[in-house]
C-alpha cells in the first residue's frame, strides 16, 4: 500500500503542472480554442517535445512505458488547465488501440509520427443508435478482392475532424451486438468515401460525425485479428475511462479552489459569503466529493492491469463515482458563484461544463452502473 509518487512520477507531475500553470492560463486557452482545429498546434508540438505523447506506450514502441499512474498524473494536470488538445482521443484511445492490436509494422508506421506530434489518430467506436455500447456496431466491412469495403456511420468521434487517420470499428461477421466479428480498420480521413462533419462540443472540445460510404481499404488496414478486436477495444476504452476519471479530478480541484476563493472574497450582507454556514457545509460536501473522486481515480489507475472482468468492474465503479461527484461539484460551483458562475467569462463555468459532460464521454453513470451490476454478479 503506497499512495506516494516515485521520483520519476514526481518529476512528470512537476513538468506537466508547470506547463499547465505557465502556458495554459484561462485567457491563453481562449486563444487556443480559436485555432482551426480547436486547440493549439504549438501545444501539441510542445507536448511531443516534452515526451508527453510517448508516456503511455511501451519502450519497444518508442514510448516511456508509463502506466495508469503516469496517465493519471498527466490527465489530472490537463484537467486543472482544461486542456483542449486531443490527448485522450489521439494518444490514449487512438495510439492505445494501435499498440494493442497493431502488427510491429503497423505500430512502427503509426506510432512514430503520433509520438512525434506529426500525425493524429481518432477512434471511431460509437454509432448513432448505439448510445454508449461499444459492441453496438452496425458498420460493415465486406471483404473485397485485396482488402475491405467499409460502410456505416460513426457518431461523436472525439477530435475526429482534426485527425488524419481514423481507427474505425466495423463488423466483419456476426450480429449487430456480439463480441465476435468486431474488427478495427485504419482509414485515412482524406480517403474517398469518408465524410467527416466536425463540430464543437459543449465542453469546449471537437468531435465529428463520420460517414463511410463504400470506403476501400487494403488488407493491411486491418488492425489485429479479423473479428477479434473486442478485447483490445475494451482494454483501450477502459484506459480512456481511467484517463477521464483523472482529468475529472483535476477539473474538480480547480472548481473547488475557485469556489473556495470566491467564498472567501465575495462580500454580501457585509461579510464574505463563506461565513454563511449553509454555504460552508455545501463547500465541505464538494470537498468530500472531490476526495472520493480522487480516491476512485487512483483506484482506476491502479486497476488497469487486472484481468478483464475485475478491471472493468472497478473502472465502471470509478466512472459512476466520478460522474456523480463531478456533476455535484459542477452544479454547486455554479450555484455558489451565483450569476458569475453562469458567465462564459468565468473559468468556473467552463470547468463545470467539462465536469458535467465528462459523464457523456465513454459511458455515463447509468451505463456504468449497469455494467458494474452485470460484472458484479
Amino acid at each position: 500500500m503506497d499512495f506516494s509518487l516515485n521520483d520519476e512520477q514526481r518529476m512528470l507531475d512537476e513538468t506537466v503542472s508547470r506547463v499547465i500553470r505557465e502556458e495554459y492560463g484561462f485567457e491563453q486557452r481562449r486563444g487556443f480554442a480559436g485555432e482551426p482545429d480547436g486547440f493549439s498546434a504549438a501545444n501539441w508540438s510542445l507536448f511531443a517535445e516534452l515526451g508527453l505523447l510517448a508516456i503511455p506506450f511501451a519502450e519497444e514502441n518508442g514510448g516511456f512505458g508509463g502506466g495508469g499512474v503516469e496517465l493519471m498524473i498527466v490527465q489530472r494536470a490537463f484537467g486543472r488547465g482544461l486542456v483542449l488538445e486531443p490527448y485522450l482521443a489521439s494518444v490514449v484511445l487512438g495510439g492505445g488501440l494501435v499498440e494493442q492490436l497493431g502488427s510491429p509494422a503497423q505500430r512502427e508506421r503509426l506510432l512514430s509520427p503520433l509520438l512525434a506530434g506529426k500525425s493524429r489518430l481518432a477512434l471511431a467506436w460509437a454509432e448513432p443508435e448505439g448510445r454508449y455500447d461499444h459492441l453496438a456496431v452496425a458498420t460493415r466491412a465486406e471483404r473485397d478482392s485485396d482488402g475491405y469495403r467499409l460502410s456505416g456511420l460513426k457518431a461523436v468521434v472525439l477530435h475526429g475532424d482534426s485527425a488524419d487517420r481514423l481507427l474505425v470499428t466495423a463488423r466483419t461477421a456476426g450480429g449487430p451486438t456480439g463480441r465476435a466479428g468486431l474488427s478495427v480498420f485504419l482509414v485515412d480521413s482524406a480517403q474517398p468515401g469518408v465524410g467527416v462533419r466536425g463540430y464543437a462540443t459543449i465542453d469546449g472540445l471537437r468531435a465529428a460525425e463520420i460517414r463511410l460510404d463504400d470506403v476501400r481499404v487494403g488488407a493491411d488496414a486491418l488492425l489485429g485479428p479479423e473479428g477479434g478486436a473486442a478485447d483490445a477495444l475494451e482494454t483501450v476504452l477502459t484506459l480512456g475511462c481511467a484517463a477521464l476519471c483523472a482529468e475529472a479530478v483535476g477539473v474538480m480541484e480547480a472548481a473547488c479552489e475557485l469556489t473556495l476563493d470566491y467564498l472567501k472574497t465575495r462580500q454580501q450582507f457585509g461579510a464574505p459569503i463563506g461565513r454563511f454556514q449553509a454555504l460552508q457545509h455545501r463547500m465541505v460536501d464538494m470537498r468530500i466529493a472531490l476526495e472520493q473522486a480522487q480516491s476512485m481515480a487512483i483506484f482506476a489507475a491502479c486497476s488497469l492491469g487486472l484481468p478483464g472482468a475485475e478491471r472493468d468492474r472497478r473502472i465502471a465503479a470509478a466512472k459512476v463515482v466520478i460522474g456523480n461527484s463531478g456533476r455535484f461539484v459542477a452544479e454547486q460551483a455554479i450555484q455558489l458563484h451565483g450569476g458569475m458562475g453562469m458567465t462564459d467569462e468565468a473559468m468556473v463555468s467552463h470547468l463545470a461544463k467539462r465536469l458535467v459532460m465528462i459523464d457523456h464521454h465513454l459511458g455515463d453513470v447509468d451505463h456504468h452502473l449497469g455494467r458494474f451490476v452485470a460484472l458484479s454478479d
Partner: protein, 398 residues
C-alpha cells in the same frame, strides 16, 4: 374540498386553448418547441397578438387594459400558454414596471407609459442588480444626484435580461447616500437613448446573449420619471419582489418539459430497447413526475388562497425552491437521455430558420445548452439559499 375546475374554468381553459391554437404563429411555437432562440421580433409580433386580444396585461386591472382575471384563470392561462409552446412572456414591462406604475405612479406616468407597454412601443428592462451585490439587492451603489429638474445618474447595473432590446429601463438609484441600506433609494425610469447609457453583452455559459451590463455615466433623468417619493424606491422594489408570484413554481413549463422528456426517452435506444423502458431511467422519470404532481397541488393551494383574497407571502419562496429543483431535475434527465448526442454544440442549430442537417436526433441539439442555462433558475430572482432564509424567517420564525 374540490380539486377539480369549475365548468366556467373549464370553459375558460377551452377558450384560451382555442385562442392559442388559432393565433399563436406556428413558426414561433416551433422555435419554442424545438428549443430554438426566439428573436425580439418574434416576441413583439406575438405580444401584439396577445395585446390585441386584451390578454397581454394579464395581471393589470381592467381599467388600464388588463384582463381582470382571477388567480385561477391566470394559472389556467399559464398552463395552456406553456402547453401551446408560446414564448416566454417578457415580464419587465407588463409584469414588473407596469404594476409599479399602476400602484405608485402619477396620473401622467400612467397615461404616458402604460399604453406604450401594451402597444409594445417600449421594451423595458430591469436595472436592479449591481456588480458585487448579488442577492443583496438593497446594497445599491448607483448614485442619482439632483441637478435642477434632473437627476444625474452614475453607476453600473448587471444581469439586465434582454437589455439589448430595451429602450427603457426601470432602475434603483441611491438619491441619499447618507441614509443606510434600504433608505435613500429611488425608483427611476430611464430612457436608454439618453447619452451616457451603454449596454454591454454578457455571454452565458451556454453561449447565449440573454443578459447585459448597463453602464450609466452622467445620465440625466428628468425628475418626473421618478416613481414614488424620493428615497422611497425600496417600497416599489419590495412590491415587485412579492407581486403576484403564484406563477413562480413554473408548473406549466415543468409539465411541458416532462412531456418532452418522455417523448425523447421513447425515441432514444438503450440496450436494444427504448430508453423509456429502461427500468432505472423510467424510475428516475417517475420520481420527478410524482414530485411535480405534488408541486402542482401545492401551487393550486396557494393560488386558491389568493383567489380567496389571501396574499401569498413566503409560500412563494417554497414554490420557487421546489419549482426550480424540479425543473432542473427534468433538464438534467433530458441531457442524460440523449447520451453522447448531448455533446455536439451547434449554436447555429439553435437559430430559427436554420435548415442544416442535425447532428444526431433533431431534438438533441438544445438539451445540454438548456441544462446549463437552467442552472440560473436557482440563482436569479433571489437565489434558493436566500429563499430558504426568507422561509426560515417569515414562516418558521427562526
Amino acid at each position: 374540498m374540490d380539486i377539480t375546475y369549475t365548468a366556467e374554468e373549464r370553459a375558460f381553459r377551452d377558450e384560451v386553448r382555442r385562442f392559442l391554437h388559432d393565433r399563436l404563429p406556428a413558426d414561433i411555437a416551433a422555435k419554442v418547441r424545438e428549443g430554438k432562440r426566439v428573436t425580439r421580433e418574434d416576441h413583439v409580433r406575438w405580444q401584439s397578438i396577445l395585446a390585441e386580444q386584451g390578454w397581454f396585461a394579464v395581471h393589470w386591472p381592467k381599467q388600464y387594459g388588463g384582463t381582470g382575471w382571477t388567480p385561477i384563470q391566470r394559472h389556467i392561462f399559464d398552463e395552456e400558454y406553456a402547453s401551446a409552446h408560446a414564448p416566454y412572456l417578457v415580464p419587465f414591462g407588463v409584469s414588473m414596471v407596469g404594476p409599479v406604475i399602476i400602484k405608485f405612479g402619477t396620473e401622467e406616468q400612467k397615461r404616458r407609459y402604460l399604453p406604450r407597454i401594451l402597444s409594445q412601443e417600449d421594451w423595458w428592462c430591469q436595472g436592479y442588480s449591481e456588480p458585487g451585490a448579488g442577492s443583496d439587492l438593497a446594497s445599491v451603489k448607483t448614485r442619482a444626484v439632483r441637478d435642477g429638474d434632473h437627476y444625474v445618474v452614475n453607476g453600473q447595473k448587471t444581469w439586465t435580461t434582454l437589455g439589448q432590446y430595451a429602450n427603457m429601463m426601470f432602475c434603483l438609484a441611491r438619491t441619499d447616500p447618507t441614509a443606510k441600506q434600504q433608505e435613500g433609494i429611488s425608483f427611476l425610469l430611464i430612457d436608454m437613448d439618453t447619452p451616457g447609457v451603454t449596454v454591454r453583452p454578457i455571454i452565458t455559459l451556454d453561449g447565449a446573449h440573454e443578459v447585459n451590463e448597463v453602464f450609466l455615466d452622467d445620465v440625466r433623468v428628468p425628475v418626473e420619471d421618478r416613481v414614488g417619493e424620493e428615497g422611497k424606491g425600496w417600497t416599489c422594489a419590495k412590491f415587485l419582489l412579492t407581486y403576484e408570484r403564484t406563477g413562480i413554481a413554473g408548473v406549466g413549463h415543468a409539465k411541458q418539459a416532462l412531456a418532452h422528456l418522455k417523448d425523447v426517452a421513447r425515441h432514444q435506444t438503450a440496450n436494444g430497447r427504448p430508453l423509456y423502458e429502461d427500468p432505472l431511467f423510467r424510475a428516475r422519470i417517475a420520481e420527478v413526475e410524482v414530485d411535480l404532481m405534488a408541486l402542482e397541488m401545492t401551487n393550486l393551494r396557494v393560488i386558491s388562497a389568493a383567489q380567496n383574497g389571501g396574499v401569498p407571502g413566503a409560500e412563494s419562496s417554497m414554490l420557487k425552491v421546489r419549482g426550480t429543483e424540479i425543473r432542473q431535475a427534468i433538464t438534467d434527465l433530458l441531457r442524460r437521455a440523449v447520451g453522447p448526442y448531448a455533446l455536439p454544440f451547434l449554436p447555429e442549430a439553435l437559430e430559427g430558420g436554420w435548415d442544416g442537417e442535425p447532428v444526431g436526433p433533431d431534438y438533441a441539439a438544445p438539451l445540454s445548452a438548456q441544462y446549463f442555462n437552467r442552472r440560473k433558475l436557482s440563482i436569479y430572482g433571489g437565489s434558493n439559499e436566500i429563499q430558504k432564509n426568507i422561509i426560515a424567517k417569515m414562516i418558521l420564525g427562526l
